[in-house]
Structure formats: structure tokens, C-alpha cells
């Protein structure tokens, strides 16, 4: 009997040691500099609030941590869309002026691999900027660092919340350098095929409500037109 108890305590210790190694593993830290952050090209920066109650609408399966907004919005409870969130939000520029509207679909990704520090969400944006055109953004978002530095500390906190300053890029693909793929649909963006990056700036998180004070930023690189070389007279 004492051998069985010893084995069970050993098993629990082994699992706990592994989870601690996974949590504290510095190799899964994601504070890499994105190429979009240091590009010489023109940038479009679109800001929005990542707090559900600040969105025009936010909906999910209705049983998740973050409550749908407004309360009577249709919920995504059917099995094929149960692990999907939908959001519509107003997008603003750096002067907080409305520049357009964006709708985002986010689904838990089957490429999630916690061993490698990858908590992946597959998401797409459908964006319309009146007077400029429309954009489609495809990205893989990795929330591992967000989970490790905000969500888990909030759960450990006696007040069930987290407060601080956390800035991080959540885009991790599908671009080889961890950038989102951006396709222009109409207007001035027609034919555009470029990169993007979504980042979060968090100040407060609650275990009960989810994000309380988190701003998000979508940065899109707009390549400058290459001028045609003029022939030497």
C-alpha cells in the first residue's frame, strides 16, 4: 500500500514539475521584434478596444468567460461554431477619429501545441474603411504569453484580477516572420497583398469578466509604389 501511495505522490509531483517547467520555460517567450514594427513602408494603424462591452457587438457560445454584448445578441451555440467568437467594432486612427468598421471571427485552432508554447487562435478580419476600400486579414494569434503573464497571474491573485502594463504582439502567422496576411479587396486597396500585425496593450483583467482595460492595434504595411526607372536620355 505504501508503495502505491509513494507512486501516486511521485506521479503528482512529476506532473506538477512538468507543468511548472512548461509555465516558466523562457524559450517559449515571444518578445520578438516584428518586421512590421521596423518597416520603412507606410503603415495604416487601426485601433479598437478589446473589451467586449466596448464593441458594437461581441458574441460567443454564451457559456464562456466573456459575456456576449449586447445581452440579447444571437449566441454561437451550435457545435461547429461553439469554439468561435464574432465581433464587430468601430476602428479609429491614432487621433481617435472613426475611420471604418471591422468584423472579426476567431476560432480555437487545431494547431495549438502547448508543449511549444502555442495557444493558437485562427482569426480573420473583414474591414471597410469608407473612402479608401476594404481589406481581409488572415492571422494566427498566439495567446500563450498573454495567458502566462495575465490570465494565470489573475487566477492566482487573491482578488481574482490582474493590473499592470503589458504590451505584446499576438500575431504569430501565417507569414514566415510571424506576420498576418493582408489582402485588399476594393478601392485603393484592390490588388494589395501585404503584411499586418495585431498587438495588445493590457492594463486590467478580471477572472470573472475577462478583459477589463485592453486596447488593441492592427498595423497594416502599405508598400510604396515603386517608381519606374526612367531610361537614360
Amino acid at each position: 500500500m505504501k508503495y502505491l501511495i509513494s507512486l501516486l505522490i511521485g506521479l503528482a509531483t512529476g506532473v506538477a514539475a512538468f507543468l511548472a517547467l512548461l509555465y516558466f520555460n523562457p524559450l517559449t517567450s515571444q518578445n520578438k521584434l516584428s518586421p512590421v514594427s521596423v518597416t520603412d513602408e507606410d503603415l495604416i494603424v487601426l485601433n479598437y478596444s478589446a473589451v467586449a462591452t466596448n464593441a458594437l457587438i461581441y458574441t460567443n457560445d454564451g457559456e464562456s468567460q466573456v459575456a456576449p454584448h449586447p445581452a440579447k445578441v444571437l449566441q454561437l451555440w451550435e457545435p461547429p461554431i461553439r469554439r468561435t467568437d464574432a465581433m464587430a467594432t468601430v476602428l479609429t486612427d491614432s487621433r481617435n477619429t472613426v475611420v471604418g468598421v471591422g468584423m472579426k471571427f476567431s476560432s480555437d485552432s487545431e494547431s495549438t501545441n502547448l508543449l511549444n508554447g502555442e495557444a493558437i487562435i485562427d482569426s480573420v478580419w473583414h474591414i471597410y474603411l469608407p473612402g479608401r476600400g476594404s481589406l481581409f486579414v488572415e492571422q494566427k494569434e498566439n495567446y500563450w504569453t498573454y495567458l502566462r503573464e495575465i490570465v494565470i497571474p489573475a487566477r492566482w491573485s487573491s482578488g481574482d484580477n490582474w493590473r499592470g502594463i503589458w504590451n505584446g504582439d499576438i500575431t504569430s502567422g501565417p507569414g514566415a516572420l510571424g506576420t498576418a496576411r493582408v489582402i485588399g479587396g476594393s478601392g485603393a486597396f484592390d490588388g494589395l497583398d501585404t503584411h499586418g500585425l495585431e498587438s495588445l496593450s493590457a492594463k486590467a483583467y478580471s477572472v470573472e469578466q475577462g478583459p477589463v482595460a485592453i486596447d488593441a492595434k492592427l498595423t497594416i504595411e502599405i508598400p510604396r509604389l515603386q517608381s519606374e526607372p526612367t531610361p537614360d536620355p
Binding site: K2, Y3, S6, L7, I9, G10, L11, A12, T13, G14, V15, A16, A17, F18, L19, L56, I57, T59, P70, A71, K72, V73, L74, E78, P79, P80, I81, R83, A86, A88, V90, V98, V99, G100, V101, M103, F105, S107, D108, E110, T112, N113, L114, L115, V124, H126, Y128, P130, G131, R132, G133, S134, F136, E138, P174, I183, G185, S186, G187, A188
Partner: protein, 191 residues
């Protein structure tokens, strides 16, 4: 007993690694794809939106009865000519398989725009640009601009049309938006 404890630790570590490696953290629910092969006309897949029950949002300035109830749409002049909608989409068996967004906008600089994004969580997403003017028969025709995951290597066209309900049943929807996709893979050049 100490050796048993050490063996337990090793077994615990190996078990946790194996569990994370072999058990999928996410397994999206899949519905069967219902693709129809037509004689000499390629293949199509039909989706539809039952209106009003599958409509999640209508984003238009100045709505008397906003959908969903409680929606406060932006009154900014910038969005004056913009109509943004969110839907659930169903397959040919009337089962919800995804969500979709539709933008219809009119602006003097960009002209008229009608676009869809269909998001099927287990398969990927498609971005479709529709022609603003409807074709004969009440259809509007569009083309696949780009796709993700299962749709990444495809190209083709999409049609949409409004089909009013004629059943007269009390529980029946007012009608449905019928969406038919005809996608094929890119032909690769042979060496």
C-alpha cells in the same frame, strides 16, 4: 519506497508530455461537406442563411429597431453609406456550419461595394467580392478573392440570391439568402 517515488516522478513527467503530445488541445466539430458534382459544369457547394433567425447583426445608421436589441451603431458620418451584417450560415442539410459577414457600401471614391467573408471554423475562411449590379434572374455573381486553410489554393465564383419562403408555414423563415460556391483548385504547370 524512495525508488518508487522517483519512478512515479519520471512516470508523471513522461505521462504529461505524452498527453500533451498525443491528445489534441482543440478538436473542431466537423459537419460533412456537401459538394455536388454537375455534369460538365464542375462542382458546387450550397450554403444559406435563414432570415431572420440566422441574422446576428444589422449595422446601419439610424435603425428604428436595432438588431440585436441594444446595439448602438456608430452615428459617425464616415459610416453613413455603410451596411455591415453578421450571419450564421447553414449547409445543404440546414445545419449551421459557420458564420459570415457582409458589407454593402456606397462611396463616391470607391463606388459600390458588396463583399462577403465566410468563416467555417473547421475548414477555413473565404473572401468574396460580389458585382454590385445583380445579374438576370435575381442572382448576384462574385468571385473568390482569397481563402485560408482548406480554401487557400482555390479560385472560383460565388452567387447569392434572395429566395422568399412560399411554404406558408408559421415557423418558416421569411426567406433565405442562398449562396452557391463553385471553387476549383489552381491548375499547376507541368514541368
Amino acid at each position: 519506497m524512495f525508488k518508487t517515488f522517483i519512478a512515479g516522478i519520471l512516470l508523471g513527467i513522461v505521462g504529461a508530455v505524452a498527453a500533451l503530445y498525443y491528445l489534441p488541445a482543440v478538436n473542431q466539430f466537423r459537419e460533412q461537406s456537401l459538394i455536388v458534382v454537375h455534369p460538365n459544369q464542375g462542382n458546387t457547394e450550397s450554403f444559406h442563411v435563414n432570415v431572420p433567425m440566422d441574422r446576428i447583426m444589422i449595422g446601419v445608421p439610424g435603425q428604428q429597431e436595432p438588431l440585436p436589441a441594444g446595439l448602438i451603431w456608430s452615428g459617425d458620418d464616415k459610416l453613413a453609406g455603410t451596411r455591415a451584417e453578421l450571419f450564421k450560415i447553414r449547409n445543404g442539410k440546414d445545419i449551421v456550419v459557420g458564420v459570415a459577414s457582409r458589407i454593402a457600401a456606397s462611396h463616391e471614391e470607391t463606388g459600390n461595394i458588396i463583399e462577403w467573408v465566410f468563416h467555417l471554423p473547421a475548414r477555413g475562411s473565404v473572401y468574396v467580392i460580389m458585382q454590385p449590379q445583380p445579374a438576370e434572374g435575381g442572382y448576384r455573381v462574385g468571385s473568390l478573392k482569397t481563402g485560408t486553410r482548406d480554401f487557400a489554393a482555390l479560385h472560383g465564383r460565388v452567387t447569392e440570391r434572395w429566395v422568399a419562403d412560399t411554404s406558408g408555414s408559421e415557423d418558416a423563415p421569411a426567406g433565405r439568402i442562398e449562396i452557391i460556391t463553385a471553387f476549383v483548385a489552381e491548375l499547376e504547370d507541368e514541368e
